[in-house]
Protein backbone atom coordinates (compact mmCIF):
# COMPACT_ATOMS: atom_id res chain seq x y z
CA UNK A 1 0.00 0.00 0.00
CA UNK A 2 1.30 3.47 -0.95
CA UNK A 3 1.52 6.39 1.47
CA UNK A 4 -0.98 8.36 -0.61
CA UNK A 5 -3.53 5.52 -0.94
CA UNK A 6 -6.86 6.19 0.73
CA UNK A 7 -8.41 3.12 2.36
CA UNK A 8 -12.16 2.97 2.99
CA UNK A 9 -14.63 0.42 4.28
CA UNK A 10 -16.99 -0.33 1.41
CA UNK A 11 -20.74 -0.54 1.79
CA UNK A 12 -21.70 -3.65 3.77
CA UNK A 13 -18.51 -3.71 5.87
CA UNK A 14 -18.62 -2.15 9.33
CA UNK A 15 -17.11 -2.19 12.79
CA UNK A 16 -19.32 -3.66 15.45
CA UNK A 17 -18.85 -4.03 19.17
CA UNK A 18 -19.78 -7.58 20.15
CA UNK A 19 -21.18 -7.33 23.67
CA UNK A 20 -21.53 -11.08 24.11
CA UNK A 21 -17.84 -11.79 23.41
CA UNK A 22 -16.58 -8.40 24.66
CA UNK A 23 -14.67 -7.83 21.44
CA UNK A 24 -14.65 -5.64 18.34
CA UNK A 25 -15.50 -7.40 15.12
CA UNK A 26 -15.51 -6.39 11.49
CA UNK A 27 -18.83 -7.39 9.98
CA UNK A 28 -18.71 -8.11 6.25
CA UNK A 29 -20.88 -10.06 3.81
CA UNK A 30 -21.46 -13.46 5.47
CA UNK A 31 -18.29 -13.03 7.54
CA UNK A 32 -17.31 -11.71 10.96
CA UNK A 33 -13.64 -11.02 11.64
CA UNK A 34 -12.63 -10.76 15.31
CA UNK A 35 -10.29 -7.81 15.75
CA UNK A 36 -7.44 -7.55 18.23
CA UNK A 37 -6.56 -4.15 19.71
CA UNK A 38 -4.16 -3.33 16.90
CA UNK A 39 -6.66 -4.21 14.18
CA UNK A 40 -9.34 -2.17 15.87
CA UNK A 41 -7.00 0.80 16.30
CA UNK A 42 -6.11 0.78 12.60
CA UNK A 43 -9.67 0.42 11.35
CA UNK A 44 -10.93 3.12 13.71
CA UNK A 45 -8.71 5.55 11.78
CA UNK A 46 -10.01 4.48 8.36
CA UNK A 47 -12.54 7.14 7.40
CA UNK A 48 -12.40 7.14 3.61
CA UNK A 49 -10.77 10.58 3.60
CA UNK A 50 -7.33 10.31 5.14
CA UNK A 51 -4.43 8.58 3.41
CA UNK A 52 -2.57 5.51 4.56
CA UNK A 53 0.38 7.80 5.40
CA UNK A 54 -1.72 10.12 7.56
CA UNK A 55 -3.41 7.23 9.34
CA UNK A 56 -0.18 5.46 10.19
CA UNK A 57 1.54 8.68 11.32
CA UNK A 58 -1.35 9.35 13.69
CA UNK A 59 -1.09 5.80 15.07
CA UNK A 60 2.70 6.13 15.52
CA UNK A 61 2.18 9.36 17.48
CA UNK A 62 -0.57 7.97 19.64
CA UNK A 63 1.25 4.77 20.56
CA UNK A 64 4.77 6.26 20.54
CA UNK A 65 5.88 3.57 18.11
CA UNK A 66 8.26 3.75 15.11
CA UNK A 67 6.22 4.76 12.06
CA UNK A 68 7.99 2.27 9.77
CA UNK A 69 6.93 -0.60 11.95
CA UNK A 70 3.35 0.67 12.12
CA UNK A 71 3.28 1.04 8.32
CA UNK A 72 4.56 -2.48 7.77
CA UNK A 73 2.01 -4.06 10.13
CA UNK A 74 -0.85 -1.89 8.89
CA UNK A 75 -0.08 -2.58 5.23
CA UNK A 76 -0.13 -6.30 5.90
CA UNK A 77 -3.39 -6.15 7.86
CA UNK A 78 -5.17 -3.85 5.40
CA UNK A 79 -3.80 -5.76 2.41
CA UNK A 80 -5.36 -8.97 3.69
CA UNK A 81 -8.72 -7.22 4.10
CA UNK A 82 -8.39 -5.77 0.61
CA UNK A 83 -7.82 -9.23 -0.89
CA UNK A 84 -11.05 -10.38 0.74
CA UNK A 85 -12.87 -7.34 -0.68
CA UNK A 86 -13.49 -6.00 2.82
CA UNK A 87 -11.54 -2.81 2.05
CA UNK A 88 -11.51 -0.42 -0.90
CA UNK A 89 -8.34 1.48 -1.73
CA UNK A 90 -8.25 4.58 -3.93
CA UNK A 91 -4.85 5.79 -5.15
Amino acid sequence: MEITDIPALPRGVRLHHDRVRSAWVLLAPERAVTLDQVGHAILSEVDGTRSFGEITSALADRYSAPVDEIRKDSAEFLGALRNRRFLDVTP
Partner: protein, 360 residues
Protein backbone atom coordinates in the same frame (compact mmCIF):
# COMPACT_ATOMS: atom_id res chain seq x y z
CA UNK B 1 -16.48 -28.93 26.74
CA UNK B 2 -17.24 -25.23 26.79
CA UNK B 3 -19.76 -24.29 24.15
CA UNK B 4 -19.15 -21.05 22.23
CA UNK B 5 -22.06 -18.80 21.28
CA UNK B 6 -23.24 -19.12 17.66
CA UNK B 7 -22.05 -16.64 15.06
CA UNK B 8 -24.68 -17.19 12.38
CA UNK B 9 -28.37 -17.97 12.16
CA UNK B 10 -30.16 -19.14 9.05
CA UNK B 11 -33.79 -18.02 9.17
CA UNK B 12 -35.91 -20.05 6.76
CA UNK B 13 -38.68 -17.46 6.59
CA UNK B 14 -40.86 -19.60 4.36
CA UNK B 15 -40.69 -22.77 2.33
CA UNK B 16 -42.77 -21.21 -0.44
CA UNK B 17 -40.77 -20.62 -3.62
CA UNK B 18 -41.59 -19.97 -7.27
CA UNK B 19 -38.66 -22.18 -8.27
CA UNK B 20 -38.60 -25.98 -8.05
CA UNK B 21 -34.86 -26.74 -8.05
CA UNK B 22 -34.22 -30.49 -7.90
CA UNK B 23 -31.43 -29.93 -5.32
CA UNK B 24 -33.52 -27.80 -2.96
CA UNK B 25 -31.96 -27.72 0.51
CA UNK B 26 -35.30 -27.50 2.30
CA UNK B 27 -36.46 -30.62 4.12
CA UNK B 28 -38.55 -33.10 2.18
CA UNK B 29 -41.37 -32.42 4.65
CA UNK B 30 -42.03 -28.69 4.16
CA UNK B 31 -43.84 -26.11 6.27
CA UNK B 32 -47.16 -24.82 4.92
CA UNK B 33 -47.88 -21.10 4.83
CA UNK B 34 -50.42 -21.23 7.67
CA UNK B 35 -47.76 -22.75 9.93
CA UNK B 36 -45.20 -19.97 9.33
CA UNK B 37 -44.01 -17.77 12.20
CA UNK B 38 -45.55 -14.28 12.31
CA UNK B 39 -43.64 -11.04 11.84
CA UNK B 40 -43.70 -10.44 15.61
CA UNK B 41 -42.45 -13.94 16.38
CA UNK B 42 -39.53 -13.56 13.98
CA UNK B 43 -38.67 -10.14 15.45
CA UNK B 44 -38.50 -11.72 18.91
CA UNK B 45 -36.32 -14.55 17.62
CA UNK B 46 -33.94 -12.01 16.05
CA UNK B 47 -33.60 -10.22 19.40
CA UNK B 48 -32.97 -13.52 21.20
CA UNK B 49 -30.38 -14.42 18.57
CA UNK B 50 -28.51 -11.13 19.01
CA UNK B 51 -28.54 -11.55 22.79
CA UNK B 52 -27.17 -15.07 22.36
CA UNK B 53 -24.23 -13.79 20.30
CA UNK B 54 -25.39 -14.24 16.70
CA UNK B 55 -23.78 -11.64 14.42
CA UNK B 56 -24.81 -12.79 10.97
CA UNK B 57 -28.42 -13.36 10.02
CA UNK B 58 -29.16 -15.13 6.77
CA UNK B 59 -32.70 -14.48 5.59
CA UNK B 60 -33.50 -17.47 3.46
CA UNK B 61 -36.34 -19.75 2.39
CA UNK B 62 -37.72 -21.13 0.16
CA UNK B 63 -37.76 -17.74 -1.44
CA UNK B 64 -37.71 -15.08 1.30
CA UNK B 65 -39.24 -12.54 -1.10
CA UNK B 66 -42.40 -14.67 -0.92
CA UNK B 67 -42.89 -13.16 2.56
CA UNK B 68 -44.87 -9.92 2.18
CA UNK B 69 -43.35 -8.63 5.44
CA UNK B 70 -39.73 -9.07 4.27
CA UNK B 71 -38.91 -5.37 4.67
CA UNK B 72 -40.36 -5.29 8.20
CA UNK B 73 -38.30 -8.38 9.06
CA UNK B 74 -35.11 -6.68 7.83
CA UNK B 75 -35.96 -3.61 9.91
CA UNK B 76 -36.49 -5.79 12.99
CA UNK B 77 -33.22 -7.64 12.42
CA UNK B 78 -31.22 -4.42 12.05
CA UNK B 79 -32.85 -3.01 15.18
CA UNK B 80 -31.70 -6.14 17.00
CA UNK B 81 -28.15 -5.34 15.85
CA UNK B 82 -27.74 -8.18 13.32
CA UNK B 83 -25.92 -8.11 10.01
CA UNK B 84 -28.60 -8.94 7.45
CA UNK B 85 -28.00 -11.08 4.40
CA UNK B 86 -30.79 -11.87 1.95
CA UNK B 87 -30.46 -15.23 0.18
CA UNK B 88 -32.69 -15.05 -2.88
CA UNK B 89 -33.27 -16.21 -6.43
CA UNK B 90 -34.35 -12.65 -7.22
CA UNK B 91 -37.86 -13.77 -8.19
CA UNK B 92 -40.37 -11.63 -6.31
CA UNK B 93 -38.08 -8.62 -5.94
CA UNK B 94 -39.15 -5.45 -7.76
CA UNK B 95 -37.20 -2.21 -8.07
CA UNK B 96 -39.55 -0.69 -5.49
CA UNK B 97 -39.09 -3.56 -3.03
CA UNK B 98 -35.32 -3.39 -3.34
CA UNK B 99 -35.46 0.35 -2.56
CA UNK B 100 -37.56 -0.44 0.53
CA UNK B 101 -35.05 -3.09 1.62
CA UNK B 102 -32.26 -0.56 1.12
CA UNK B 103 -34.07 1.94 3.33
CA UNK B 104 -34.64 -0.79 5.94
CA UNK B 105 -30.87 -1.30 6.14
CA UNK B 106 -30.37 -4.62 4.34
CA UNK B 107 -26.60 -5.22 4.37
CA UNK B 108 -25.94 -7.75 1.63
CA UNK B 109 -27.60 -9.90 -1.02
CA UNK B 110 -26.69 -13.42 -2.08
CA UNK B 111 -28.22 -14.15 -5.47
CA UNK B 112 -28.49 -17.74 -6.66
CA UNK B 113 -27.60 -18.78 -10.20
CA UNK B 114 -29.15 -21.95 -11.64
CA UNK B 115 -27.31 -21.70 -14.96
CA UNK B 116 -25.59 -19.14 -17.16
CA UNK B 117 -28.08 -19.32 -20.05
CA UNK B 118 -31.88 -18.89 -19.96
CA UNK B 119 -32.29 -22.44 -21.29
CA UNK B 120 -30.21 -24.02 -18.53
CA UNK B 121 -31.31 -21.79 -15.67
CA UNK B 122 -35.02 -22.03 -16.44
CA UNK B 123 -34.87 -25.78 -16.87
CA UNK B 124 -33.03 -26.35 -13.58
CA UNK B 125 -35.21 -23.88 -11.66
CA UNK B 126 -38.36 -25.19 -13.33
CA UNK B 127 -39.49 -21.61 -13.88
CA UNK B 128 -39.83 -20.06 -17.32
CA UNK B 129 -38.48 -16.52 -17.60
CA UNK B 130 -36.64 -16.84 -14.31
CA UNK B 131 -33.21 -16.16 -15.76
CA UNK B 132 -34.28 -12.98 -17.55
CA UNK B 133 -35.95 -11.72 -14.39
CA UNK B 134 -32.87 -12.55 -12.29
CA UNK B 135 -30.64 -10.55 -14.65
CA UNK B 136 -32.99 -7.59 -14.34
CA UNK B 137 -32.95 -7.85 -10.55
CA UNK B 138 -29.13 -8.06 -10.58
CA UNK B 139 -29.03 -4.78 -12.49
CA UNK B 140 -31.27 -3.07 -9.90
CA UNK B 141 -29.12 -4.49 -7.09
CA UNK B 142 -26.08 -2.95 -8.78
CA UNK B 143 -27.82 0.41 -9.24
CA UNK B 144 -28.63 0.60 -5.53
CA UNK B 145 -25.14 -0.59 -4.67
CA UNK B 146 -25.92 -3.53 -2.41
CA UNK B 147 -22.85 -5.69 -1.85
CA UNK B 148 -23.49 -8.84 -3.87
CA UNK B 149 -22.44 -12.47 -3.75
CA UNK B 150 -23.39 -14.71 -6.65
CA UNK B 151 -24.12 -18.28 -5.60
CA UNK B 152 -23.63 -20.61 -8.56
CA UNK B 153 -24.99 -24.07 -7.85
CA UNK B 154 -23.24 -26.61 -10.03
CA UNK B 155 -23.77 -30.25 -10.94
CA UNK B 156 -23.27 -32.62 -13.85
CA UNK B 157 -25.66 -30.75 -16.14
CA UNK B 158 -24.14 -27.28 -15.78
CA UNK B 159 -20.56 -27.67 -14.51
CA UNK B 160 -19.30 -26.79 -18.00
CA UNK B 161 -20.78 -23.31 -17.42
CA UNK B 162 -18.46 -22.52 -14.51
CA UNK B 163 -16.12 -20.23 -16.56
CA UNK B 164 -19.12 -18.21 -17.74
CA UNK B 165 -20.48 -18.02 -14.16
CA UNK B 166 -17.20 -16.41 -13.09
CA UNK B 167 -17.60 -13.83 -15.87
CA UNK B 168 -21.21 -13.11 -14.95
CA UNK B 169 -20.21 -12.47 -11.34
CA UNK B 170 -17.73 -9.85 -12.52
CA UNK B 171 -20.20 -8.29 -14.95
CA UNK B 172 -22.72 -7.96 -12.12
CA UNK B 173 -20.10 -6.28 -9.94
CA UNK B 174 -20.26 -9.06 -7.34
CA UNK B 175 -17.47 -9.00 -4.78
CA UNK B 176 -17.70 -12.72 -4.22
CA UNK B 177 -18.90 -15.88 -5.93
CA UNK B 178 -19.74 -19.08 -4.19
CA UNK B 179 -19.01 -22.00 -6.48
CA UNK B 180 -21.18 -24.60 -4.80
CA UNK B 181 -21.27 -28.13 -6.12
CA UNK B 182 -24.58 -29.70 -5.16
CA UNK B 183 -24.54 -31.43 -1.78
CA UNK B 184 -26.74 -34.48 -1.71
CA UNK B 185 -29.28 -34.04 1.07
CA UNK B 186 -33.08 -33.84 1.05
CA UNK B 187 -34.44 -33.40 -2.46
CA UNK B 188 -31.00 -33.66 -3.99
CA UNK B 189 -30.72 -37.27 -2.78
CA UNK B 190 -33.55 -38.12 -5.18
CA UNK B 191 -31.60 -36.53 -8.00
CA UNK B 192 -28.23 -38.16 -7.68
CA UNK B 193 -28.66 -39.91 -11.04
CA UNK B 194 -29.50 -36.63 -12.74
CA UNK B 195 -27.01 -34.36 -10.98
CA UNK B 196 -23.96 -36.31 -9.77
CA UNK B 197 -20.84 -34.81 -11.37
CA UNK B 198 -18.35 -37.12 -13.02
CA UNK B 199 -14.94 -37.48 -11.44
CA UNK B 200 -13.45 -35.62 -14.43
CA UNK B 201 -15.87 -32.73 -14.00
CA UNK B 202 -15.09 -32.46 -10.29
CA UNK B 203 -11.34 -32.32 -10.99
CA UNK B 204 -11.84 -29.79 -13.78
CA UNK B 205 -13.89 -27.52 -11.49
CA UNK B 206 -11.12 -27.60 -8.89
CA UNK B 207 -8.57 -26.67 -11.54
CA UNK B 208 -10.68 -23.76 -12.87
CA UNK B 209 -11.29 -22.42 -9.36
CA UNK B 210 -7.61 -22.64 -8.43
CA UNK B 211 -6.56 -20.72 -11.55
CA UNK B 212 -9.32 -18.13 -11.21
CA UNK B 213 -8.41 -17.45 -7.57
CA UNK B 214 -4.94 -16.38 -8.68
CA UNK B 215 -6.10 -14.44 -11.72
CA UNK B 216 -8.88 -12.59 -9.88
CA UNK B 217 -7.12 -11.97 -6.57
CA UNK B 218 -8.39 -8.78 -4.96
CA UNK B 219 -11.16 -8.43 -7.56
CA UNK B 220 -13.45 -11.41 -7.00
CA UNK B 221 -13.34 -13.67 -3.95
CA UNK B 222 -14.14 -17.30 -4.77
CA UNK B 223 -15.56 -19.64 -2.15
CA UNK B 224 -15.61 -23.23 -3.33
CA UNK B 225 -17.65 -26.20 -2.19
CA UNK B 226 -16.22 -29.22 -4.03
CA UNK B 227 -18.13 -32.33 -5.05
CA UNK B 228 -17.59 -34.23 -1.83
CA UNK B 229 -18.38 -37.79 -3.00
CA UNK B 230 -15.13 -37.47 -4.95
CA UNK B 231 -13.01 -36.11 -2.07
CA UNK B 232 -10.71 -37.99 0.34
CA UNK B 233 -11.78 -36.26 3.54
CA UNK B 234 -15.19 -35.03 4.62
CA UNK B 235 -16.25 -31.45 5.14
CA UNK B 236 -16.12 -29.77 8.50
CA UNK B 237 -19.88 -29.64 8.44
CA UNK B 238 -21.35 -26.48 10.05
CA UNK B 239 -17.86 -25.83 11.48
CA UNK B 240 -18.62 -28.62 13.94
CA UNK B 241 -22.09 -29.56 15.19
CA UNK B 242 -23.57 -26.90 17.47
CA UNK B 243 -20.49 -24.67 17.48
CA UNK B 244 -21.07 -21.79 15.08
CA UNK B 245 -24.53 -21.79 13.57
CA UNK B 246 -28.19 -22.65 13.93
CA UNK B 247 -31.17 -22.88 11.62
CA UNK B 248 -34.73 -21.80 12.36
CA UNK B 249 -37.46 -23.34 10.20
CA UNK B 250 -40.56 -21.43 9.04
CA UNK B 251 -42.60 -23.22 11.73
CA UNK B 252 -40.20 -22.25 14.53
CA UNK B 253 -38.29 -25.53 14.86
CA UNK B 254 -34.62 -24.95 15.63
CA UNK B 255 -32.09 -27.26 13.96
CA UNK B 256 -28.29 -27.57 14.24
CA UNK B 257 -28.19 -27.68 10.41
CA UNK B 258 -30.78 -27.41 7.66
CA UNK B 259 -30.86 -31.16 7.04
CA UNK B 260 -30.87 -32.32 10.68
CA UNK B 261 -34.48 -33.51 10.50
CA UNK B 262 -33.23 -36.40 8.37
CA UNK B 263 -31.80 -37.91 11.57
CA UNK B 264 -34.93 -39.63 12.90
CA UNK B 265 -34.08 -40.01 16.59
CA UNK B 266 -33.39 -36.30 17.17
CA UNK B 267 -36.04 -34.09 18.75
CA UNK B 268 -36.09 -30.37 18.09
CA UNK B 269 -37.19 -27.47 20.26
CA UNK B 270 -39.37 -24.68 18.89
CA UNK B 271 -38.87 -20.95 19.44
CA UNK B 272 -42.51 -20.79 20.58
CA UNK B 273 -41.72 -23.04 23.56
CA UNK B 274 -38.19 -22.21 24.62
CA UNK B 275 -35.72 -19.30 24.58
CA UNK B 276 -33.07 -19.55 21.86
CA UNK B 277 -30.36 -19.39 24.53
CA UNK B 278 -31.64 -22.55 26.23
CA UNK B 279 -32.18 -24.29 22.90
CA UNK B 280 -28.56 -23.62 21.89
CA UNK B 281 -26.92 -24.57 25.18
CA UNK B 282 -29.30 -27.19 26.57
CA UNK B 283 -31.31 -28.55 23.65
CA UNK B 284 -30.98 -32.29 23.04
CA UNK B 285 -30.45 -31.94 19.29
CA UNK B 286 -27.62 -29.44 19.74
CA UNK B 287 -25.85 -31.60 22.30
CA UNK B 288 -26.27 -34.84 20.36
CA UNK B 289 -23.10 -34.51 18.27
CA UNK B 290 -21.22 -31.66 19.93
CA UNK B 291 -17.51 -32.14 20.49
CA UNK B 292 -15.98 -35.58 20.09
CA UNK B 293 -17.42 -37.77 22.89
CA UNK B 294 -20.10 -39.28 20.61
CA UNK B 295 -17.54 -40.60 18.13
CA UNK B 296 -16.78 -44.25 17.45
CA UNK B 297 -13.81 -45.60 15.51
CA UNK B 298 -12.19 -44.69 13.15
CA UNK B 299 -13.01 -41.12 14.24
CA UNK B 300 -12.29 -41.55 17.96
CA UNK B 301 -8.54 -42.13 17.51
CA UNK B 302 -8.17 -40.03 14.34
CA UNK B 303 -5.84 -37.03 14.39
CA UNK B 304 -8.30 -35.13 12.20
CA UNK B 305 -11.19 -35.50 14.62
CA UNK B 306 -11.13 -31.84 15.64
CA UNK B 307 -10.40 -30.76 12.08
CA UNK B 308 -13.56 -32.11 10.45
CA UNK B 309 -15.46 -33.55 13.44
CA UNK B 310 -16.13 -36.75 11.52
CA UNK B 311 -17.82 -34.85 8.68
CA UNK B 312 -21.52 -34.61 8.04
CA UNK B 313 -23.93 -36.41 10.41
CA UNK B 314 -26.78 -36.23 7.91
CA UNK B 315 -24.65 -37.82 5.20
CA UNK B 316 -23.62 -40.63 7.57
CA UNK B 317 -27.33 -41.16 8.30
CA UNK B 318 -28.37 -41.10 4.64
CA UNK B 319 -25.64 -43.38 3.27
CA UNK B 320 -24.59 -45.61 6.17
CA UNK B 321 -27.83 -45.54 8.15
CA UNK B 322 -26.05 -44.42 11.33
CA UNK B 323 -25.73 -40.71 12.17
CA UNK B 324 -22.80 -41.42 14.52
CA UNK B 325 -20.76 -43.18 11.84
CA UNK B 326 -17.79 -41.62 10.07
CA UNK B 327 -18.91 -39.59 7.05
CA UNK B 328 -18.66 -42.19 4.23
CA UNK B 329 -16.80 -39.63 2.10
CA UNK B 330 -13.79 -40.16 4.39
CA UNK B 331 -10.96 -42.33 3.11
CA UNK B 332 -10.94 -44.02 6.56
CA UNK B 333 -14.60 -45.01 6.38
CA UNK B 334 -15.23 -48.70 5.55
CA UNK B 335 -18.02 -47.45 3.28
CA UNK B 336 -15.92 -45.10 1.15
CA UNK B 337 -15.15 -47.64 -1.58
CA UNK B 338 -18.83 -48.43 -2.04
CA UNK B 339 -19.69 -44.73 -2.07
CA UNK B 340 -17.19 -44.02 -4.83
CA UNK B 341 -18.57 -46.84 -6.97
CA UNK B 342 -22.06 -45.53 -6.26
CA UNK B 343 -21.01 -41.98 -7.24
CA UNK B 344 -19.60 -43.19 -10.56
CA UNK B 345 -22.78 -45.16 -11.22
CA UNK B 346 -24.95 -42.11 -10.53
CA UNK B 347 -22.71 -39.96 -12.72
CA UNK B 348 -23.16 -42.38 -15.67
CA UNK B 349 -26.97 -42.07 -15.78
CA UNK B 350 -27.00 -39.67 -18.70
CA UNK B 351 -30.72 -39.79 -19.37
CA UNK B 352 -31.94 -39.51 -15.79
CA UNK B 353 -34.82 -37.02 -15.54
CA UNK B 354 -34.88 -34.17 -13.01
CA UNK B 355 -37.20 -34.74 -10.07
CA UNK B 356 -38.44 -31.25 -9.25
CA UNK B 357 -39.18 -30.11 -5.74
CA UNK B 358 -42.90 -29.79 -5.09
CA UNK B 359 -44.57 -26.86 -3.37
CA UNK B 360 -45.48 -27.01 0.33
Amino acid sequence: MSVPPPIAMLAELTHRCPLACPYCSNPVEMTRQDQELSTEAWARVFREAAELGVLQLHLSGGEPASRRDLTELVTAAREAGLYTNLITSGIGLSQRRLADLDAAGLDHIQLSLQGTTPEMADEIGGYKGGFARKMQVAQWIGEIGFPLTLNAVLHRRNLHQLPRALEIAQEMGARRIEVATVQFHGWALRNRDALMPTRTQAAEATRIVTEARTALKGALVIDYVPADYHEDYPKRCMGGWGTSGLNVMPNGKVLPCHAAESIPHLTFDRVQDRNLHDIWYKGDAFNAYRGTDWMAEPCRSCDRKTVDFGGCRCQAMAIVGDAAATDPVCIKSPHQGALQVQADTHAAQDDAPLVYRTAP
